[in-house]
Symmetry: C2
Subunit: 198 residues, 2 copies
DNA sequence: GGAAATAGGACAAGACTAGTCCGGTTTCAT
DNA sequence: ATGAAACCGGACTAGTCTTGTCCTATTTCC
């Protein structure tokens, strides 16, 4: 289905939450939040979130404090954690076609197939996008006010009919941006509202 | 695992193959290739590929001819079919978090959660990338000679440590491009070779 | 010593993926 | 007509992945 797993989703949510709790977790070693707090706030099953947080500790994104008054805090600056790192922890490598990584050069389908090179370019673009956003970006108050992340150059003449339910406007926006400016600018309040479903 | 399914992969491969067989399939209604031909060429199980091709017919990407001497040809211009459309046929909607589309406004986790807006921006970028490449692009001889698809602006100070096996160079390349130019330029022959695993 | 919290292994239901199997239909060539 | 070649499409299966739950430690504070 080409989507993030809940685990990755929960991981990002938790990291972002902890990034906004840093005041509680300044130098003295205090924790930002407990599993229970985060789970209740975001309606995540407690034991499941616990697994996610434990994994984030093992991978070096979080530091934990055991015992009562325990909890979690970020192990590094929120600006030094990007979405790709987190997603890879939970979902494994991000790959478009298995051919990119599955084997050591013994691709059965490769000789005649040149689907791969163009897809690889897309693949790199996706990795770049994911790597370019940090937890700090997510934690700031108005994400739409951010610097543009990506500027898409739609090729003239390329197929541009895109219909995917409510993300139609989103694509249209990307296409607009190719002409009128970077992502996030030139948006009226109303169009911003259209993009907010959740 | 955030990857395309084999079905989508096979679909793209088949479409790309048929796009290069257009000479056999000019106006007279001749077909470009049969299931068996494509399956053998790319080492895909015949019955499985058949399903994929049948679906592409139902979705309007291919036209089929039954009976002996039958087969498939593109139903529209290769330049009018983009990768996103094809991927959506097989893998369903491309969504980063289920929250984008799952519900009609009743997101349990939404009130306090602002992970979504930044992710949505990434999501739009990915859709834009996928929508910007067409079957015609894939079918041309040297994909690396293409116009740049995307130009990434890495934010200064953003986390840039990215390690994912062999795609490390890929990311590095994206980052280089943020400084030195669009994707695909400034590549020595050797670095091109590094990117080709398959 | 008890409460609160993290740590982590085992396990299970359900969904999805990849692929097989089989019977049917259409069309062409002989 | 008849058979071969090809498309059509539903049913099924083995395996894997996802999303949890459950239970038992272990640590730390009061």
């Amino acid at each position: 289905m080409l989507k993030l797993t809940k685990r990755a989703d929960y991981g990002l949510i938790a990291l972002k939450h902890l990034a906004t709790q840093e005041r509680r977790a300044n130098g003295s070693g205090e924790v930002g939040a407990t599993t229970k707090e985060i789970a209740e706030l975001y309606r995540i099953p407690v034991p499941h979130l616990a697994k996610v947080l434990q994994k984030l500790v093992r991978e070096g994104f979080l530091r934990s404090a055991q015992g009562s008054n325990g909890g979690y805090r970020l192990a590094k600056e929120a600006s030094q954690i990007n979405a790709l790192e987190v997603i890879r922890v939970f979902d494994g490598p991000v790959i478009l076609t298995s051919c990119f990584t599955d084997h050591g050069g013994s691709c059965e389908q490769s000789e005649r197939c040149n689907v791969r090179e163009p897809l690889r370019k897309i693949h790199e673009g996706i990795l770049g996008l994911l790597a370019s956003i940090t937890i700090a970006d997510m934690a700031s108050d108005d994400p739409l006010a951010h610097q543009p992340l990506v500027k898409l150059y739609a090729k003239p003449g390329a197929a541009s009919e895109v219909h995917q339910g409510d993300s139609e406007q989103a694509i249209q926006r990307v296409h607009d941006d190719a002409v009128s400016g970077p992502l996030g600018r030139n948006l009226t309040g109303q169009r911003r509202e259209e993009l907010r479903e959740c």
